[in-house]
């Protein structure tokens, strides 16, 4: 990392923006910076001192600043209300204690590694990502759009994420791994409303076994279906064929497809049970 010449501590978003260019990287928690392979940046701009560390409760939503750490989210009683605790659970399953003490919400979004835990949660809860662009203007991007094609660009800063509370929805999050501190083998989240025994507005997101994505084919299939009459085997068969599962050195495509079906089957069964 000897190419790094400058480390800047701006005091405001405006000041931070003024330093951003092609040879500059933003640093917050910084857990990826020292181990990252792309090390061509000559300047680092520390955004942990520009007032982006907050958790604010509003009427039906919560605003979380991008440099808020995972530990701070876990300790927050406000965060526990988001999606019946789905965000808190996902945060608890990220890495280990000393890492959770520095990993930030924004870092999970700016460089979403395949094993990052939070993108699927943002997707199933319809979170909105607020990005400040070069001119200092705030752009609101839905998580669905962001993770499809809208990565934060050079010169921009992720300011915060807005989470709807939606505590009357059914939510589940699963990180499948061999130990609690292992990298994820498969990460998925599911959210839906139960209206009189029927599934309404289902959201399914998966990552690690494919590029983080929602699974719209299965969402369409589930929409309006009565839970008691649901053909779960048909649903998980569609899920397995709709997701473009890739293999890696840890597990084969077939193993991961099987796992995907099992985890989703459990979530649907739990939704059935809860609705009774």
């Amino acid at each position: 990392m000897k190419q790094l010449q400058e480390f800047i501590y701006p005091n405001s978003i405006e000041e931070a923006l003024s330093f951003l260019d092609e040879s500059t990287e933003i640093i917050a928690g910084g857990t990826h910076i020292t181990v990252s392979k792309n090390q061509s940046f000559k300047r680092l701009v520390d955004i942990t001192r520009i007032g982006l560390n907050y958790i604010k409760k509003e009427d039906h939503q919560v605003r979380i600043g991008s440099t808020t750490t995972v530990t701070e989210m876990i300790e927050s009683s406000i965060v526990r209300k988001i999606g019946n605790g789905i965000l808190t659970k996902a945060c608890q399953l990220i890495a280990d204690t000393p890492l959770r003490n520095i990993i930030t919400l924004g870092g999970n979004i700016a460089r979403y590694y395949p094993w990052a835990g939070l993108p699927v949660v943002l997707l199933v809860i319809d979170a909105e990502i607020i990005i400040v662009d070069k001119e200092g203007l705030e752009q609101t991007i839905s998580a669905t759009k962001y993770f499809k094609n809208a990565k934060v660009k050079t010169g921009e800063i992720i300011k915060e994420v807005v989470f709807p509370v939606q505590s009357d929805w059914f939510y589940r999050y699963e990180k499948f791994a061999l130990t609690t501190v292992d990298y994820s083998w498969l990460t998925m989240a599911f959210g839906a409303k139960n209206e009189g025994g029927s599934i309404v507005d289902p959201h399914i997101a998966v990552s690690r076994i494919t590029k983080v994505t929602r699974v719209s084919e299965v969402e369409k299939l589930l929409e309006g279906k009565e839970l008691s009459k649901l053909n779960i085997n048909e649903v998980i068969q569609t899920l397995r064929t709709s997701v473009n599962v890739v293999s890696d050195y840890r597990s084969s495509k077939e193993y991961r497809e099987h796992l995907l079906g099992i985890l989703f089957k459990r979530m649907l069964n739990e939704m059935k049970e809860e609705g009774k």
């Binding site: 000897k2 190419q3 010449q5 910084g30 020292t34 680092l44 520390d46 204690t97 000393p98 003490n101």
Partner: protein
């Protein structure tokens, strides 16, 4: 281009001249805090754990520049041979140390826990220690020692 950072290390105010790419672990060891051990160098094993602004963090994947205006605690700052910290005393009494390489990091993760939680449960201890690997002593003695130190610090022993 070198820069100066202000830090408090074990209660002492310091101004350190560093390069922007210096890792926190390297700067601490250069300054004589040799209890901070280098293990995996990628933020996995936890031997380099220190307390920064009240939280346990891994100094091998942090840049020293990130600690500017922060407060650091290493094992050098928490006890001496004659007056060990209750955690150090408890580790000796429980025989929770074999080779000792991981112990400075383990003591600091445990201290960060006990500073924020006087009466942790066994589960809370396990969670607080989940970032520190030990490959020879084993964890059960260490967990016992941490619970015993917590009792000592509450004045129950």
């Amino acid at each position: 281009m070198a820069l100066e950072i202000e830090v408090i290390i074990n209660g002492q105010q310091k101004v350190l001249t560093i390069e922007p790419y210096d890792l926190l672990i390297d700067v601490l060891r250069r300054e004589g805090y040799k209890s901070v051990k280098r293990g995996c160098s990628e933020g996995t094993c936890g031997t380099c754990t220190i307390i920064l602004n009240g939280r346990a963090v891994k100094s091998c994947i942090l840049l020293a520049a990130q600690a500017h205006k922060g407060s650091i605690v290493t094992v050098e700052g928490i006890g001496t041979r004659d007056q060990p910290h209750p955690l150090q005393q408890a580790f000796v009494e429980e025989g929770a140390i074999q080779c000792g390489f991981c112990i400075p990091g383990i003591i600091l993760s445990a201290k960060a826990l006990l500073d924020n939680n006087q009466s942790p449960t066994k589960e809370e201890v396990k969670q607080a220690m989940d970032g520190n690997l030990c490959r020879c002593t084993g964890y059960s003695g260490q967990i016992k020692a941490i619970l015993s130190a917590a009792a000592m610090m509450r004045g129950e022993k």
